[in-house]
């Protein structure tokens, strides 16, 4: 509590620098509260000013939102609270609210003669700390200081709690672990309540915990900074506070970062998890908000194309994989081949090794670990191995690996999938050094047959992808590519697929090595896709389709949660999944979509992410399992333990610092996706 002041308001008031400059003022708080009032109605403005003066506040009035904004920008700490009208000719009051929240993070009170529930709700969702109905009475204004105090109090609380673990993160982790599908709304993005109920709830939780903050718009640049910061810190150590410091963006709060981080993690997780369960994933993915993707047809019968088209690559990839694995003629017969190649590249060598040993092989190193997280059904052991490996990687897509490193190969891929986060790392660090492993996690699930291949591609892609751009996406794509004509390109592409031994374990074995052709079709394609994305983007189209499908799925999903990530994912997915040409085109669109999601998104992306997450989760889990059952090859053992994977993935996500790569979506990588 304030020592000097007689009032018992938050202790922060005196101590926090934000309070009035003068000690005396602080003592007399709320006297001297600096209020900026914005209203285009001169009558109201004058009345408000008079009223506020009567409350002994320091009032600055302005009748244009633009003027208010520039005033605030010039003097960020010059005001304590802003009161703004809703209907203004030059700028919508809610828009101003968002700007202020993002740039200055001040409490904003909305007011209007409009007392319709809808409008008031808008105020709430946009982060206004209060909504006053006109005519405003002086009594209502007398209490506005409470919002200032409350905000500061929450910020302090965050400081205290955030040490190395952010509240939000914690929540995120918990929620993630507890329920994958509950998409991490953690972010503030939940502005659009489209998301499922869970998500909404989660969002609510987040929101309350972190004080209603105006929505932060995670632009591409911002996201890039974020990803860079996360990668720099390492996924394990990427805590909001540090990220915030690294980013050094004025106006950005720890809460913003925390929620974004949560989303990012989920996104990564999704990426790795997508590959796992093509059929299930597809379905789930499809539904995600990203309508762009379009519901993936059931994986089994999935047509990668469909998947790809839907932009839900991840799901698609999985689907494809599954289809491939299942033996369904995905029409990609060509893929199996590629997958095989890739598989080999990635992890064929040591399917088992990958995971356990941290197959970190050359490329896969990371991937392997990552794969752990991926619930590839491939070989639990492998995945497990990957997991470990992945861990070292930095939680990269470990998620996939966690699945059980079933297929070492797959794992890598899966890892990829699961670890969108990892991806970032992978990409950043290994820049494909992570052998397809990462991918495999992704692909694994899908691959059951060839999924492994995909998964690995994922991982591999990541690794291969060296291109930092979003690996997650590419990875999935690689996975999916199986069916696509997956030309061996994959290996070449980026995935270290060849190198990632882990991948081998990925079910692709099934398809690739032996039956790959038939089964893997889908899967094979995946892995390479990742790399391909980067490199292949251009050529891989077919194979990528699978991936794209899955990818898109991821993308959409990711985007939701990660906003930034998602965008990438989408784009990546899109690219990958779309077979020849489509992919590219799709990717682009995906990119666009994702980007859009990203930018627009808090709400959209978020929503999508959530959906995506959910789907991913389910996909992952299901995917892995499914893959197995359907495909003769049983790439992934059912008992692989989607759960393991999921949890691994989740953990991965948390740990994994979002790879910049992944987030390249928005601005970046998507376009790069060679698909």
């Amino acid at each position: 509590m304030n020592s000097s002041s007689g009032k018992t308001y938050m202790s922060t008031s005196n101590s926090s620098a934000g309070w009035k400059a003068g000690d005396a003022a602080a003592d007399q708080f709320p006297v001297g509260l600096r209020v900026l009032v914005v209203d285009d109605d001169p009558t109201c403005l004058m009345i408000l000013e008079k009223m506020l003066r009567t409350c002994l506040y320091e009032v600055t009035k302005c009748n244009r939102a633009e003027t208010a904004l520039s005033m605030l920008r010039e003097n960020k700490s010059g005001f304590d609270v802003v009161i703004s009208d809703v209907h203004m000719p030059d700028m919508d009051g809610f828009k101003l609210l968002e700007h202020i929240g993002l740039e200055m993070d001040l409490p904003v009170i909305m007011m209007s003669a409009d007392d319709g529930k809808h409008v008031v709700m808008k105020g709430v969702t946009h982060g206004a700390c209060d909504y006053l109905i006109k005519p405003v009475r002086i009594e209502a204004l007398k209490n506005i200081w409470q919002h200032v105090v409350r905000k500061r109090k929450n910020e302090w609380k965050d400081f205290e709690q955030s040490g190395s673990v952010e509240e939000g993160d914690r929540q995120l982790k918990q929620s993630e672990e507890a329920d994958y599908s509950s998409s991490a709304n953690e972010g503030n993005w939940k502005s659009s309540k489209r998301r499922k109920d869970d998500e909404d709830e989660t969002d609510e939780r987040d929101d309350t915990s972190s004080l209603k903050k105006p929505r932060v718009v995670w632009s591409v640049e911002l996201h890039q900074q974020f990803v860079a910061a996360v990668n720099q810190l390492g996924i394990d150590k990427a805590v909001p506070k540090k990220i915030l410091e690294l980013m050094n963006v004025p106006g950005l709060t720890r809460e913003n970062v925390a929620s974004h981080l949560q989303k990012y993690r989920l996104y990564l997780r999704r990426l790795s998890g997508v590959s796992q369960h093509p059929s299930s994933l597809n379905n789930s993915f499809m539904s995600p908000q990203e309508a762009t993707f379009g519901p993936l047809s059931s994986l089994n019968g999935l047509d990668l194309q469909t998947l790809a088209a839907t932009g839900q690559l991840p799901a698609q990839s999985l689907v494809t994989l599954q289809a491939a694995g299942l033996g369904r003629p995905t029409g990609k017969s060509g893929i199996p081949m590629p997958l095989v190649d890739q598989r080999n590249i990635f992890s064929f060598e040591n399917p088992k090794l990958r995971f356990g040993d941290g197959q970190q092989h050359v490329n896969n190193n990371k991937q392997m670990n990552l794969l752990h997280g991926i619930p590839t059904t491939m070989e639990p052991k492998q995945l497990a191995g990957l997991h470990h490996g992945a861990q070292s990687m930095g939680n990269m897509n470990m998620q996939v690996a966690s699945h059980g490193s079933q297929s070492s190969q797959n794992n890598p891929l899966l890892m990829q999938m699961a670890q969108p986060q990892v991806r970032g790392q992978m990409l950043n660090d290994t820049s494909l050094g992570h052998p397809p492993r990462l991918l495999s996690p992704m692909g694994q699930p899908i691959l059951s047959n060839g999924i492994a291949a995909n998964v690995s591609t994922r991982n591999g892609i990541q690794e291969n992808i060296r291109a930092p751009s979003y690996n997650p996406v590419s990875q999935t794509s690689s996975m999916l590519n199986f069916p696509m004509n997956h030309a061996p390109e994959l290996p070449g592409n980026s995935f270290p697929l060849g190198s990632t031994p882990g991948i081998s374990s990925l079910t692709p074995k099934v398809a690739f090595q032996e039956d790959v052709n038939s089964d893997i079709k889908g899967t094979v394609g995946f892995l390479p896709s990742y790399d391909i994305f980067n490199d292949l983007n251009q050529h891989k189209p077919q194979n990528w389709e699978l991936q794209n499908v899955g990818m898109t799925f991821d993308a959409s999903q990711h985007s939701n949660s990660l906003q930034g990530n998602l965008n990438h994912a989408h784009s990546v997915l899109v690219q990958q999944g779309f077979p020849s040409g489509q992919v590219n085109g799709q990717n682009r669109s995906a990119t666009v979509v994702s980007k859009a999601m990203f930018s627009s998104g808090d709400s959209t992306g978020h929503v999508n992410a959530q959906n995506g997450n959910q789907q991913l989760n389910s996909l992952l889990v299901d995917g892995t399992v499914r893959v197995k059952s359907e495909t003769p090859t049983n790439l992934y053992p059912d008992d692989f333990g989607q759960e393991d994977l999921m949890s691994a993935l989740l953990k991965q996500q948390d740990a994994i610092a979002p790879a910049e790569h992944e987030f390249d979506f928005d601005g970046y990588s998507l376009d790069n996706i060679p698909v």
Partner: protein, 154 residues
């Protein structure tokens, strides 16, 4: 006239405005805001209201006179007028605005035109009354008296 008398007249006059619903408690709030540091506060605010409202009414007339009426624009003007009239306590004007908005929303031209007429009527009425009120106040002040605070049982 004696200051006291004028004061009494003022009091009665003001009360009647409240009774007739022309003014509501918001107006009282304004009066309470007025103090020595701001002795003409009420007059200033109300003058602002007059200027602003007249502009809005003009715009409304023009907008409704268009071959193709932009109801969104009309609605936004009415919303503005509603906000400012409610801020100074011009209750009947505000109520007329509420009705006006309803017609806007259903895009009923006839209804809108009728409402516009009504709003104008109410506006000019309250304007008239307030101007009279201010004149009375002025008289009191020039006569050396002070304006009595109205204690209404709102």
């Amino acid at each position: 006239m004696e200051v006291v008398q004028i004061q009494r007249t003022l009091m009665d006059y003001t009360k009647s405005l409240f009774m007739e619903g022309l003014l509501d408690s918001q107006f009282l709030q304004l009066q309470q805001l007025q103090d020595e540091s701001n002795p003409d506060f009420v007059v200033e605010v109300v003058s602002l209201f007059f200027d602003d409202s007249e502009k809005l009414l003009n715009e409304l007339t023009i907008a409704l006179d268009q071959p193709s009426v932009d109801f969104k624009k009309v609605d936004s003007y009415v919303h503005q007028l509603k906000g400012s009239s409610s801020s100074i306590g011009a209750q009947r004007v505000k109520n007329a605005c509420v009705a006006f908005r309803n017609f806007c929303q259903v895009q009923n031209i006839e209804g809108c035109l009728t409402c516009l007429q009504q709003v104008k009527q109410e506006y000019y009425l309250v304007k008239n009354k307030l101007e009279t009120l201010f004149r009375l106040e002025q008289q009191i002040v020039t006569s050396g008296g002070s304006i009595p605070m109205i204690e209404m049982g709102f």
